[in-house]
Amino acid sequence: MPPGLAASLIDALGPDAVKTEPEDLAVYGYDADTAEAEHLPDAAVIPKDARDVCAAVRIAKAHGVPIVPRGAGTGLCGGAVPVAGGVVITFSRMNRILELDVPNRRARVQAGLINLDLSRATATHGLFYAPDPSSQKISTIGGNVGTNAGGPHCLSYGTTTNHVLGIEFVDESGELVRTSLDDPGYDLTGALVGSEGTLGVVTGVDVRLMRLPESVRVCVAAFESVEAASETVSAIIGAGIIATALEIIDKVMVEAIEANYHAGYPTGAGAVLLVEVAGYTEEMNHNESAIAEIARRHGALSWTAARDAAQREALWAARKGAAGAVGRISPNYYIQDACVPRTRLPQALHAIDEIALDHRLIVGNVFHAGDGNLHPLLMFDRRDPRQIQAVVDAGTEILRTCIDMGGTISGEHGIGYEKRETLSMVYNTADLATMGRIRDVLDPSRCFNPNKIFPTGAICGEVKTSVA
């Protein structure tokens, strides 16, 4: 650690807000990615407000160390891991709703507010915050902004970027900057969402709230195979029927989920399709029967609607906790995130199966089918080096396959540290250079979350990844 860093941080933020002991720092060396290596920061700070964040950024800059913002650490690709050391800024004390404007359906929140807490706080007013990543019980709005988090309900409500109206962030000179979608000029708000903490430190977010739907129904259908379930999804989309969520869970994952949560998913089938329809009652009823009919035509073995709100919640809780159930199958898993055009789903799933088979790996699939957003979980045992290599190779092959189908390498988890070398599979040098220009403006010294998103080797000299 550079001399004086800890003392300056303590001086500015107070002793309670600064951690420098290795045992305190260990927790900041990981996120939810499966990567084995841990990278300890030099220090971690827990600011109480945006001014503290400004001070931390200035001090880190003055000492020439990286600044790594961190939400709840639920990221799946090492985005919040301080791979080059430096100061981790964590937001557990900045977790409040600052303003709730019910008539105008907006809220101003601190970056550390837990996603689900916002919808809980607004429900009594008949409103909710739509983006609901599976991690929503612990992940923060600030972290969601960093990765442009998605979730099962993107199908009808869109991703985080569609719900962010403005951002307050600390720039590379340690100044607080506020953006708004209503400002004239370039859409800085839109550029910051999904930038994974590489353009500044988000301290506050203005979000759009939506009216809670009048009626909601959740149904599950069993299918012979994952391909049959995904053909059904393609047919539903193709028929122009609006569902709020269309999720597929394959046999491997259904067995694990049911054993863990007993939520009421049909076991024994090749795949389960989870359908949510919501909205005005008349439309919801109509859409449900239209979807059920399509499912039957595509060979659904069963169709069951959740009896009540409690069972609906149970089905969703189990779906969102799917990854947590993998422990029943395998000591370790690696979750991949890729997206393909919706019509390519059946082929993509077939290809994933073949790739897993080639590498002698068990694969489970639980994914946002309505968006073409795949999440194959590759099961492995960390103690076996062959399996580790097989997972890495299979993961890359899956991404390559999805790109070849007109898809991309991340739908909602981001690129982070783990996938940065694959970014050049999607974009050419000129495309990456344009991103580099944005970074040149907002983070010329590359102090914010270095070694993330962009490939090493400085494509074309524009995309630098070293810290000045």
């Binding site: 993107c154 869109g158 970027t161 004239p184 859409d187 439309e283 970014l423 250079a433």
Partner: protein, 376 residues
């Protein structure tokens, strides 16, 4: 850069213009598989042609800009146009899933793709939307589409001043939300029918027949309870009636008019409208106004009685209005009327970043110089 030329009155004129690049021939659908609900287009495709292509497959993209027969998708996005239906569907930018742009150094740069969820590097497309061509020229645009609503209906009711606030409150409490809701006063020439002095409410509903029917029943009783006289219903002409109100937003009358848009919170839109009214009175100008009750936009067209007056009062009018209302931009008016005024007003708090982006993307100031806020 020139698309359909329908939003030329928005923003400042370029400080200099030696070459105009038209997107007229970039007018083809590049990729469209209806089953994917995504479409890739040349930037010069008109909104009408886009709508027609999608309608064949029962789909649409909710972008409501003036004059869709001429407005292009590239131009509409570059101009950052946002219409009333964004209250329901989100902004046009939310439907952009990828772009290709020609940059000032002559390179082509792509971002995003043909998938509806994508977090791979920066969302560069967002910067081109609303940039008025100052960072690069949109060449190709990829959009996500939606299944088209089964029914579209417009309900029109005369709204005397005393009933206005109460009527809007009642409608906000209904179980079915209007897709868009506009209060229009004036614009007699642009929008069918005369409305006397009261002003009219245009309520747009989109959805299934059953829901739209329920909405209409609710609306009638809510308006009745608020003391509003009869409501007329348009079904087959709904699209045309709605489009006319959108067209009116940017319509100008020779050198006699100037249109300002005030953006703000929906719950104080009527207050901002009242402020516009007093400003018009102070300057002895007539006023046509559209209040978008769901998004909070207020479109105010100030109209001078003589042909010579407006160019002289424009500067004082806009400066005075900006003292009382924030978020005020000029969106339409004859070039001579706009000559003395800054369309954008004071730059936003983040302006230093915007200026630096312009500098980094276009260091020589080749692209549409001075068109955007703060002279960028």
């Amino acid at each position: 850069m020139l698309g359909g030329g329908t939003l030329q009155g928005l923003g400042n004129p370029p400080a200099r213009c030696d070459v105009t690049i038209s997107t007229a021939k970039l007018n083809t659908v590049i990729e469209y598989d209806p089953r994917d609900l995504t479409i890739a287009l040349g930037a010069g495709v008109t909104l009408r042609s886009l709508a027609a292509t999608l309608a064949k497959h029962g789909q649409f993209v909710p972008i409501d800009a003036p004059h869709p027969d001429r407005a292009t998708i590239g131009g509409t996005l570059a101009a950052g146009w946002i219409g009333p239906r964004r209250a329901t569907y989100g902004r046009p930018r939310d439907y952009v899933i990828g772009t290709t742009a020609a940059l000032a150094d002559g390179t082509l740069s792509s971002a995003g793709g043909m998938v509806v969820k994508n977090v791979t590097g920066y969302d560069v497309s967002k910067l081109f939307v609303g940039s008025l061509g100052t960072l690069g020229a949109l060449v190709r645009v990829n959009l996500k589409a939606l299944p088209a609503p089964q029914t579209m209906r417009v309900a029109i009711a005369s709204l005397p001043e005393l009933t206005r606030e109460r009527a809007l409150e009642h409608i906000a409490a209904l179980s079915v939300e209007p897709t868009a809701m506009l209060f229009v006063r004036g614009f007699h020439r642009e929008i069918d029918g005369s409305d006397g002095l009261d002003g009219r409410l245009f309520v747009l509903y989109e959805g299934s027949q059953a829901v739209v029917d329920r909405a209409t029943r609710e609306l009638r009783s809510a308006l009745g309870a608020a003391g509003v006289p009869g409501t007329s219903i348009l079904d087959s002409n709904a699209q045309r009636a709605y489009q006319r109100t959108i067209d009116a937003c940017t319509s100008s009358i020779a050198q006699r008019s100037l249109t300002l848009r005030s953006q703000g919170l929906p719950d104080n839109a009527l207050v901002r409208y009242a402020t516009m009214e007093s400003i018009a009175e102070e300057h002895h100008l007539a006023l046509d106004v559209i209040v978008d009750a769901r998004t909070g936009d207020v479109f105010a067209r100030f109209l001078a009685s003589g042909a010579e007056a407006m160019p002289y009062v424009a500067e004082e009018l806009v400066d005075g209005a900006r003292e009382r209302l924030s978020g005020l931009v000029v969106i339409a008016g004859d070039a001579r009327v706009r000559a003395s005024i800054d369309a954008w007003g004071p730059p936003p708090a983040s302006f230093e970043k915007l200026r630096a982006l312009k500098e980094r993307f276009d260091p020589r100031g080749t692209l549409a110089p001075g068109r955007l806020v703060g002279g960028i």
